[in-house]
């Protein structure tokens, strides 16, 4: 990315709302200068099902953000979620070529290409190749193994892939606003990057982003993402359960969930009842508080157990010393941290918004969009510096001539 000022848009097409942020990046620092939001339509469980409706909402959020920023967005970092996303781990090892066993750039390139070269089923496309730390003769190397001495170089990649049509739909929604999608970032990586610190990631931490339609998670180990995943269940399912269990409309159930829902049952009095509206209007009804709490708590616990099950052997309390960090709109559900701690057997807490974020953006529901900007910029920066390093003297000259 060049050093001139770029206006970057971060867009999260969520199930309940679409968020757009505008960041001003001058090559050194990023400032958030615009924010737009629109209730979501045409999106179910993170997937676009009604192109026109989803486009209108997304474009409305983008227009609002541009108005707020007073600048035109030049490119977009787009968050990607949905049940179609899957991941797998692939590892490769090469014998070091040099006679003195010193690892060179060619060894690193070869082993990385091999580890990433796994054929995908038809109709699937790579969203991310997430590299795990290199190992030299089994020894973990946190940084680059270049110039280290060893006989065998090993590296593994966690590859996230998704359905081509679903990915294309999301991209086309943004293109419909005449904007280029520069980065497609997994929602869990974006929000995880925002709510965890480098130290936590080094010690091992699980970040869970509970959205309305999906729950995204990322497990960090040794400072980098180890496993990611998406469970196509979110806060909307809690609303749906309340709606069925208490015979309510979706909006009434949503209202009850927000006011009385809990991730852990607290009320022991079966006779304790709460009003639906509480404004003495005609038709207002009473519901047992314990029933509401039981429904939401049960579903939340079940959701977290699904996450734990999907993580499988990757998650152990020993490898997740920094515990669980919860974020996303549904993370505001009372008692969620306690339930998460019980389910995972490690300390859990709600993700905190960094202090430099403006007050109007401090809601956990905005963590993905915020993280998108920062993760996207740092990913681009890292890619640019890697290509510069790889380029060498000749490539530098070629770039000079190309830019002249």
């Amino acid at each position: 990315m060049s050093s001139r000022t770029t206006f970057i848009g971060a867009v999260e097409i969520g199930t309940s709302k679409i968020t757009a942020l505008v960041g001003e990046y001058n090559g050194r620092e990023l400032m958030i200068i615009g924010h737009g939001e629109c209730p979501s339509r045409g999106v179910i469980k993170g997937a676009v099902v009604d192109y026109k409706a989803a486009s209108e909402c997304t474009h409305s959020a983008l227009e609002q953000a541009e108005r707020d920023a007073g600048e035109r967005i030049e490119l977009v970092f787009l968050a990607q979620t949905g049940g179609h996303l899957e991941g797998f781990y692939n590892e490769a090892a090469v014998n070091v070529v040099a006679a003195d066993n010193m690892i060179g750039p060619a060894d690193i390139r070869t082993v990385s290409e091999l580890a990433k070269a796994k054929e995908l089923p038809a109709g699937r496309m790579v969203v991310h190749h997430i590299r795990r730390p290199f190992r030299v003769d089994g020894r973990l190397v946190p940084g680059t193994p270049e110039n280290l001495v060893g006989q065998q170089l090993t590296v593994g990649y966690w590859t996230v892939h998704g359905q081509e049509q679903r990915l294309a739909d999301n991209i086309h929604v943004i293109r419909g606003f005449n904007l280029e999608v520069r980065e497609l970032v997994l929602a869990s990586l974006a929000s995880g990057h925002m709510v965890t610190t480098q130290e936590e990631r080094q010690h091992g931490v699980l970040a869970i982003d509970l959205g309305a339609g999906t729950t995204d998670y990322v497990l960090y180990r040794d400072g980098s993402p180890h496993t990611t995943g998406v469970v196509p269940v979110g806060g909307a399912h809690l609303t749906n359960d309340l709606s069925i269990g208490l015979r309510l409309t979706q909006s009434q159930a949503e209202k009850l969930k927000l006011r009385f829902g809990r991730a852990a049952v607290q009320c022991q009095d079966k006779g304790d009842k709460v009003w639906l509206d509480g404004n003495f209007s005609i038709g207002d009804r009473q519901f047992p508080r314990q029933a509401i709490e039981q429904i939401t708590a049960e579903r939340t616990r079940e959701l977290l157990e699904v996450v734990k099950k999907k993580l499988g052997n990757a998650f152990t309390p020993e490898t997740c010393a920094a515990g669980v960090v919860l974020t996303g709109g549904t993370a505001k559900l009372a008692g969620l941290a306690e339930t998460a701690a019980k389910v995972f057997g490690v300390p859990a807490h709600l993700g905190e918004t960094p202090t430099w974020v403006a007050d109007n953006l401090r809601d956990p529901a905005n963590h993905t969009a915020l993280g998108l900007l920062y993760y996207g910029v740092s990913a681009q920066h890292e890619r640019a510096s890697t290509s510069r390093r790889r380029g060498g003297f000749l490539a530098t000259f070629k770039r000079l001539f190309a830019s002249a």
């Binding site: 990433k116 790579v126 081509e164």
Partner: protein, 322 residues
């Protein structure tokens, strides 16, 4: 795993998804952005075109301005030439050199060209030409002063005398009092080089001018006897050779104080006059504290055949100036 034998299979990346989108798939906001983008591009192109057009117009205007201006009213022919100079050039020389055709209006004059003509003479160091409307051209000159003179032999013009200024400029000289130019020493020991129709400046005239100015100011009688100045040893030894009317060769060092050397010379000449039996031939002031002086024996007596001729063997003596 051997990387050389395994060809990695190609995996498709999300970046392979084409980002083109059909117009009908765009929302009104997207179409508006496209329209704005087109308008912006058109505006940039328009602005650039306007700038280019404006630039061309300004260039054309400047070009017209640089040429002879066409006066809007009836042109008044040049009537007066006013000369202000710090030297000897006169009105007639100015009129002859400028050679302005009769009836030329003041605005039709190419001042740059006229100035070039003035400077080409060599005698003029700087010239300022000013139009004073309605019909006067004022010329202010700064002239060079001659330091030495030299004789050149042209195939076309025959022998002629030229003057050399302090900065080495060689010029014909005009308007000087002959009594002044005749007292100037002749310059020797240089090779003149031509460039075009003029001579290139003579190098190393600065110290010569200093020496002559000092001599003229501090020791006028000495200077009056100097007939030639040679630069033959200037570049190699840093010495200036002066020939006098009595055929005495005086050698001055350029890196020594000229005043001290002139004082030494004066003392030596006085001492030499006290020995009329000896004829002074050379005084070398460039050695330092000791001044070698060479004498020739005067007189005609024919030496006996066995004796060495006195005139061929100069007697060198160390002379300590008082």
């Amino acid at each position: 795993m051997n990387p050389l034998n395994s060809q990695p299979p190609s995996t498709r990346h999300w970046k392979d998804i084409p980002q083109q989108v059909r117009h009908r798939a765009m929302s009104s906001g997207g179409r508006r952005r496209v329209l704005l983008g087109v308008l912006k591009t058109a505006a940039i192109i328009g602005t650039l075109a306007a700038l280019a057009w404006g630039g061309a117009g300004v260039a054309a205007a400047l070009h017209e301005e640089a040429g002879p201006a066409s006066p809007s009213g009836p042109a008044v022919p040049l009537h007066d030439l006013v000369l202000v100079t710090d030297g000897v050039l006169d009105q007639a020389w100015l009129a002859r050199t400028l050679a302005v055709p009769k009836g030329t209006s003041l605005m039709a004059l190419d001042l740059f060209q006229l100035r070039t003509r003035l400077l080409a003479s060599g005698q003029v160091r700087a010239a300022t030409l000013t139009r004073n409307f309605p019909a006067t051209l004022a010329v202010t000159l700064t002239e060079r002063l001659p330091v030495v003179r030299l004789q050149v032999q042209d195939a076309a013009d025959g022998p002629r005398t030229l003057l050399v200024a302090r900065d080495g400029t060689v010029y014909a000289g005009s308007g000087y009092d002959p009594q002044l130019t005749e007292t100037l020493p002749w310059l020797a020991g240089v090779k003149l080089q031509r460039q075009g129709g003029a001579f290139l400046p003579v190098a190393g005239m600065e110290p010569v001018a200093d020496l002559l100015a000092k001599a003229k100011l501090e020791a006028e009688p000495l200077y009056a006897a100097w007939r030639s100045v040679s630069l033959a040893r200037l570049e190699s030894d840093g010495e200036i050779e002066v020939g006098t009317k009595d055929a005495i060769k005086l050698i001055f060092a350029t890196n020594e104080d000229f005043f001290r050397q002139l004082a030494n010379l004066d003392a030596i000449l006085d001492a030499a006059r006290a020995q009329p039996e000896k004829v002074l031939r050379e005084v070398n002031l460039a050695v330092g504290g000791q001044v070698p002086v060479a004498f020739d024996r005067p007189g005609p007596p024919v030496p006996p055949p066995t004796a060495a001729p006195a005139s061929k063997g100069p007697l060198f003596t160390g002379f300590n100036p008082p």
